[in-house]
């Protein structure tokens, strides 16, 4: 089970190399002695972003979802650079509105899930559209895709997510053994 002869240009190896490099950088930024909860939370955010970014970069622009993720990350970093330069309070207000929209979409998704149970008994096509909406919100870049492309992108997205989880699990286990 351990002896997997990995293709050096496979998605898994590309992601692993990128993610490890990012981890080394994150580790080098903060001194190890400072492990206040705020530092740990910041590091958690950076690691999560690095993981998603590494996977999106490993897929490059070949997929709509990876393009959407990269675009989102780049526009976010551009916004952060601009706000840190000018110190506008307006920019921080826009970031808080994005967090409130995500909570409202989660709330909407919960309602959608409940109603889809009833709709499934009545008409399959109606339930399908409702579930497709929920899927669109989960897959990055899903809003502007038709159903065919959405399903195709979802399959690839799931494959990459499982690879990401697999590699992160291995790294975490290896680190915890040290």
């Amino acid at each position: 089970m351990d002896s997997q002869h990995l293709n050096p240009s496979s998605l898994k190896s590309r992601f692993t190399a990128r993610f490890l490099r990012a981890l080394i950088k994150i580790n080098a930024q903060k001194p190890i002695s400072s492990s206040s909860p705020r530092d740990i939370f910041q590091r958690y955010r950076r690691i999560k972003v690095a993981a998603d970014k590494s996977m999106a970069y490993s897929v490059r622009s070949r997929r709509t979802w990876s393009r959407a993720t990269l675009w989102k990350l780049r526009s976010r970093s551009r916004r952060r650079l601009a706000s840190s330069g000018r110190r506008l309070s307006i920019k921080t207000r826009t970031t808080t509105t994005t967090t409130t929209t995500t909570t409202s979409t989660n709330h909407r998704a919960a309602i959608v899930e409940k109603t889809s149970h009833e709709k499934e008994n009545k008409e399959d096509h109606v339930g399908l559209a409702v579930q497709a909406e929920e899927l669109r919100e989960l897959v990055p870049g899903g809003e502007s895709m038709d159903l065919c492309n959405l399903l195709d992108e979802t399959a690839h997205y799931i494959k990459c997510l499982t690879t990401q989880v697999q590699v992160m699990k291995k790294i975490a286990n290896l680190y915890s053994l040290e």
Binding site: I32, R43, Y44, I47, V165
Partner: protein, 91 residues
Amino acid sequence: MSSRRRRESSRTNISEEQITQLLSTLRQLLPEIPHSHSHKASSAAKVLKQTCNYIKTLHREVDDLSDRLSQLLATIDADSAEAAIIRSLLI
């Protein structure tokens, strides 16, 4: 005009076949749940719902692993661990 309408209806027929094909691909990727009586013709909405739940599970796993890694990074030494990990993961 009518030719365009005819072309559009043929396009939707082709995409329905594609949709069923893509759905079966998705169904294979999802983790199997041996609990329920698995009807071969589980509705498309059910497959999509299982897909949504699976993606949410994967997102949550990524969050948990990032959390774990952030705590572990605070406690280990950098360089030697990196080389060992890279070697063991890529060979």
